[in-house]
Amino acid sequence: MSPSRVAWRPLTEDETRAVFEKLANYVGKNLVHIINPSGASSKEDVEDDEDTAPLLRLQKDKVFLLNTSINNLATSVARPNLISLGQCLGKFTKSGKFKLGIGSLDVLARWARYKVWVKPNGELPFLYGNHVVKAHLGRITEDTPEHQGVVVLSMSDIPLGFGVSARSTVDTRKLDPTGLVVFHQADVGEYLRDEDTLF
């Protein structure tokens, strides 16, 4: 039986892999920058900036990304009283699958390989939880393949959420205006809509 997910603890091997796989879907090789932001290449380097080394921690199903010093201080807080800390990347479902949450947008937007920009008239429909249609598509990374994790931005480069590409860049050109380009996964509107269940 797998360890309880209620506890405040480091992730198990399997859980870590599940989280990395999801992240890699968006950021690809850049994943290394998330795990090792200082660019440390040797073990000594890692030990040097022990305080800022990022960690993954699990609390009540949710996965948090935080640095070591915050983690050490937060151990003083009793588990039932600890609500959140650092960045919330997402949560494990009851069946053990990992689902990226809107809290991971900062990380994804910084390192994502494939991006989609929506026109101003498409911002609100996306923020209300709808998929992105061709008519709202402003720009798209040149070589985006099909079913690839993409970050959705406004034309002024504000990250609005993320999703999965429905077509490759080449195929979107042939699409009619109502055809779907990006399947919605998460958007910043959730901070308002799902405030109660988010964290």
């Binding site: 935080l66 010093s69 915050i70 201080l73 937060a74 003083s76 807080v77 009793a78 009283n81 600890l82 609500i83 959140s84 800390l85 650092g86 960045q87 919330c88 809107i102 809290g103 900062d106 911002e123 609100l124 923020l127 406004s154 002024s156 504000i158 990250p159 609005l160 958007d187 910043v188 509107g189 901070y191 308002l192 405030e195 109660d196 988010l198 964290f199």
Partner: protein, 465 residues
């Protein structure tokens, strides 16, 4: 203008009042009280007018008589009416640009493009914008959802500006929901160090953590302990912000229910809680902090017993704490005495903000510096030296002789008694030492030489702390 007679008052009570008449009467009485000698009726005293004015204010503005009197007594009559008037009009909508994600100029431009008319709040803040008019809901624009700004009243910028958190510090926000101040602190610290955002109400931590994540604050730990659990949960903070739960008499324009639902007992309970919390806040400080050691106590209430009263209590209870300048460039000085109450002489360093003066919510901000215990010890030594000097001087006056012996059991009772706290209070105010001695003299233990007893208490305190 003539005050209504008893019969007229009764008729008003049964038949209901004409608001216009009452308001006219309020204005008249204020004018009369302004130049009392000239305008008063021959057979009327100032108390008669004041009483009628308070009754009229309570009926016209809809406050309970108790609260009307409480608030009225803090101001001059015309200022009081201006205060009550200002509580009837809503304050302007303001936002704070989140410097973690954007700059104020960029944000202003983005919002102007969406049809929002806005302007910087004032020279005193670099992150505040005032909204005049908007075609879109300001709380649901893509910029808002992406965390570029927070809807936040200007009064809640002030305690954070006073706290002035520095990068890489450990900071505590004791009552933090919904997170406006927390996220401002995090922004000032540029996402370094750590901010503990606590709120006793678990339900309110939902919106707190949603806001914290939306605004991209990565150095925040959200927890839900009773504030009084600190520093048992974790201490050693460089700075602590205590924006205490309060009656909300400063935010009447936002929440009118305060007018009627706060009784005398509520005020007593609240200030009791505030006193407990401020001591916990002070005790959570790392007194050896290289950069900090500050506590900011603020409330959105204007009543004295929730503001100066609480700070005064903390100063008396913790001799190693002193008031320092808040660093805010405007605001009214706090009261050093009011209504027969005397507060600490440095209380003028605290700042009050009023709706009718500053066009923001009523607010109180004070900044306390928590000094290391060694400073306290120095103070103790000074007190001792002064004590010895006094003793020498007094020796001539005193009846000499009385045998002085000490019995630990006896002393224990004394130390736990009021003299103990009394004496502690004296430590910060050595000039009051003599008065304290006199009190000790008249006590039942008058066979003990007071100054020696005082000396022993000092030693006890030193060992104890």
């Amino acid at each position: 203008m003539v005050l209504p007679t008893e019969e007229e008052k009764e008729r008003e009570a049964t038949e209901g009042q004409d608001a216009q008449v009452v308001y006219g009467r309020i204005r008249d009485i204020v004018r009369i009280l302004g130049d009392f000698r000239r305008f008063k009726a021959a057979n009327r005293s100032r108390a008669d007018y004041t009483q009628q004015l308070i009754a009229d204010i309570s009926s016209y503005y809809g406050y309970t008589p108790f609260l009307a009197e409480k608030l009225f007594s803090m101001f001059s009559p015309d200022e009081a009416v201006a205060f009550f008037d200002a509580n009837e009009t809503p304050r302007p909508v303001t936002i704070r640009a989140n410097t973690l994600k954007t700059r104020r100029r960029d944000l202003a431009q983005a919002l102007i493009n969406r049809g929002v008319s806005l302007e910087p709040i004032g020279k005193w803040t670099k992150v505040g914008l005032q909204i005049f008019d908007s075609n879109v809901p300001v709380g649901a624009t893509p910029e808002y959802l992406a965390g570029h700004y927070m809807l936040q009243s200007p009064s809640s910028f002030l305690p954070v500006m006073a706290l002035d958190p520095q990068p890489n510090e450990r900071v505590l926000d004791m009552a933090s929901a919904p997170g406006g101040k927390t996220s401002y602190m995090s922004a000032l610290m540029q996402n370094t160090g750590v901010v503990f955002a606590n709120d006793a109400n678990a339900a309110r931590t939902k919106s707190l953590s949603a806001n914290v994540h939306r605004l991209g604050c990565k150095n925040v730990v959200v927890c839900t302990h009773d504030g009084r659990q600190f520093p048992k949960v974790i201490g050693g903070f460089d700075r602590v912000l205590l924006d205490a739960p309060c009656s909300g008499t400063g935010v009447v324009s936002k929440d009118q229910s305060v007018k009627v639902n706060k009784t005398e007992r509520d005020f007593a309970l609240l200030s009791h809680l505030q006193k407990q919390l401020i001591l916990c806040a002070i005790d959570s400080i790392n007194t050896k902090s290289a950069t900090g050691g500050f506590v900011v106590y603020s409330t959105c209430s204007v009543t004295v017993d929730e503001d100066e009263g609480v700070v005064d209590y903390a100063l008396k209870k913790r001799p190693n704490v002193k008031l320092v300048d808040t660093g805010l460039e405007f605001g009214v000085e706090g009261f050093t005495n009011i209504g027969g109450k005397q507060f600490h002489k440095d209380m003028h360093l605290t700042r009050r903000f009023y709706p009718h003066v500053h066009n923001m919510e009523g607010f109180f901000v004070s900044k306390l510096q928590v000094l290391p215990r060694s400073v306290l010890k120095n103070k103790l030594q000074q007190a001792e030296e002064k004590e010895e000097n006094d003793e020498r001087l007094e020796e001539d006056d005193n009846e000499a002789g009385a045998d002085v012996t000490f019995n630990d059991d006896e002393d224990k009772a004394l130390m736990e008694s009021e003299y103990f706290t009394l004496t502690r209070n004296c430590l910060t105010k050595t000039q009051k030492t003599n008065a304290a001695n006199k009190k000790l003299e008249v006590s039942s233990h008058s066979n003990l030489k007071p100054s020696n007893l005082f000396f022993r208490l000092l030693l006890y305190i030193r060992d104890f702390t």
